[in-house]
Point group: C2
Chain length 382, copies 2
């Protein structure tokens, strides 16, 4: 039986992965009178007297909503709300496991942005933060932006920013090892969806100057006549040397390839056209843009993928548990760029001595969440 | 420190009452590959292949949404969404404790029925059933009706029907003891809100013929010029003898008083005007319409209240855990009148030998949920 069959059997055996339990004893009448009637009325009255008390007397302060519409589920695409539930439950389970955060999955049926935003606003009172998940571009950008403006709790689309935090942390260390800097490195990002757009933004925040972006039709350049508004916007800051053509044209002389696209997109020949000792982050899931051994044979110095069976696994679980732990701890109203930057640096610095095969911390290193959460808390106070 | 102060301290100490935990191990890479990537993709694909698989591979089948807008929180009135959260969390904790049902609290901000209904529809995919809670009349009637029509999962407003199930179960046994029948008993229901309307409906379903309803302005009669649509509708089937005036006028000669109104509404003098050996269900919370000892002194034969410090405690927890357990077990699409009737009879018959002080099972009797759930399951198959 392969892992997929095993997993299906596993899911059926357990009937899903989450349960909601009481944190308090409920065995005696007295227990009930404290937790429920009549005592609970006082907790309600306290919130009436002082609205902020909701953070002290309910579970809200440790509760994250993991919300999707199932339109861009990693590796599976648009499978819809119901079919995305197992992934959402898994995300919630990981929030609890890694950061002791209570997380509840909500898969909304609508594809209407207004309805989506309104629904999240309506239910937001039960939560301390919102993790948007697996929502396709470009809808995900507007949804996240509107919710950030309209909610009074932090909102983060993890596929954008969680990915960007981990990628840039790895890039920081890869630059260290290969003697590069953000200001001078020639970067190519392959993929202009949620992750690609966020990675580009984060790279610029760290001082990058020369980024080319490619999508499935080739390099995003002035020559293109088919660009969506998001991609036109990318053109305002990227491709300053006005390269055009295919990925093979754009990759020539580049120091860094970051792939958030499809398996097999990057060939050994293309790697050989890159600068010396290139950095390859091939993050397509489950098949990377290029296999690590092939990339290394073609001259790559630092290679990262999303897979757990190779070194340098780029996985969002290195970021979102610590980020959300941090914002919940200080009850921050937003997850700011400053906090994401702090999380990125904390993640990079967590690797005391980076090497070609350790530019990113290990997913199972229990200290990561603590370090990232602390960095986010500290950043929230600045 | 009284129970209210104790409870507030208790809520602050625990920071609310609920947590969301993983039902599955997540300690090793292998655990993660089963629960999350890459294995979880198969559970998603299974739902794509067969939509009903969502009931087998996710937690949905055991998950109830406890949803309110905070407009009618028992004993506190309209305190709004946020302040109602401690009560909702308590309800969820009790679902788990009594019936091993996972329950999540959602307190919606809107007072717009369309927005409320749409929001619940949007999030319904994460749940196997919906328990509406503490929503004021008359909005609660339309909301419940619309959601029952538009959702494909069971919906029940517990303040209406859970209350009615327990009350009528108690009435069945009180009739047994006092030699009465639904067909001949003269009944007065004091209160025409959610509970009152549902109790009247349930009494008629059991064959009642003569019910008078009173509200804070007196008997609902043809003479009234201030009746809302709901109360006009009540008039179609109640008050067949066309009594008018105050509660004191209507209570004369009545066999049964059911109070879902305010404390102190029923006096000893009024009880003395009732038929011999009257039945008094004084359910106002926390102060009943009349205290049991006062009622008994005035001649009442069977007295019930909502309080735990007197015999015959009428508490919805005798109904909703078993009802929802039953419908979740068989994945019923609705909670039908037939099922509610079955639950009512099961609850009444659970008291093997009713006496004046035991017309209702004890709240802590562990067999109640089992009996009610079984009755509901059996009813769903008929």
């Amino acid at each position: 039986m392969d892992i997929y069959e095993e997993s299906l059997k596993f899911h059926k055996k357990h009937k899903g992965k989450l349960e909601v339990t009481s944190k308090v004893p409920l065995d005696t009448r007295y227990d009930l009178s404290l937790a429920y009637t009549p005592g609970v009325a006082e907790a309600c009255r306290e919130i009436v007297r002082n609205p902020d008390a909701v953070w002290d007397v309910t579970s809200r302060g440790n509760m994250v909503a993991v919300i999707t519409d199932g339109s861009a589920v990693l590796g599976l695409g648009d499978i819809g709300a119901s079919a995305s539930l197992p992934v959402m439950e898994g995300k919630c389970a990981l929030f609890k496991k890694f950061a002791n955060i209570d997380a509840f999955p909500l898969a909304l049926k609508t594809r209407d942005i207004d309805v989506f935003v309104q629904t999240v606003k309506e239910i937001s009172g039960s939560f301390g933060a919102v993790n948007l998940e697996d929502i396709s571009a470009p809808r995900c950008f507007e949804i996240e932006e509107r919710l950030k403006n309209e909610l009074d709790i932090p909102v983060m689309h993890d596929d954008q920013h969680g990915t960007a935090v981990v990628v840039v942390a790895g890039i920081i260390n890869a630059f260290k090892i290969t003697g590069r800097s953000f200001e001078t490195a020639k970067i190519l990002v392959n993929g202009a969806g949620a992750a690609g757009v966020a990675i580009v933004k984060a790279l610029f925040n760290f001082g990058a100057k020369d980024i080319i972006v490619a999508d499935s039709q080739g390099i995003i350049s002035k020559e293109r006549t088919d660009l969506t508004p998001i991609k036109k916007k990318l053109l305002e800051t990227t491709n300053v040397t006005n390269v055009s053509g295919s990925l093979a044209d754009g990759i020539v002389g580049r120091d860094v390839f970051i792939g958030v696209s499809v398996g097999g997109a990057l060939t050994a020949d293309m790697v050989r056209e890159m600068a010396t000792h290139p950095i390859i982050f091939a993050l397509a899931n489950p098949i990377p843009e290029i296999m690590p051994d092939v990339a290394k044979e073609a001259g790559a110095k630092v290679v990262a993928t999303g897979r757990s069976d190779f070194p340098n696994q780029v996985n969002n679980v290195l970021a979102y548990p610590g980020i959300f732990r941090g914002v919940l701890d200080v009850r921050a109203p937003q997850i700011t760029d400053h906090m994401k930057r702090a999380a990125t640096i904390a993640l990079a610095e967590y690797v005391a001595v980076p090497s070609v095969d350790t530019v990113i911390p290990d997913v199972f290193d229990k200290g990561v969440v603590t370090a990232v959460a602390k960095a986010v808390r500290d950043a929230s106070r600045e």
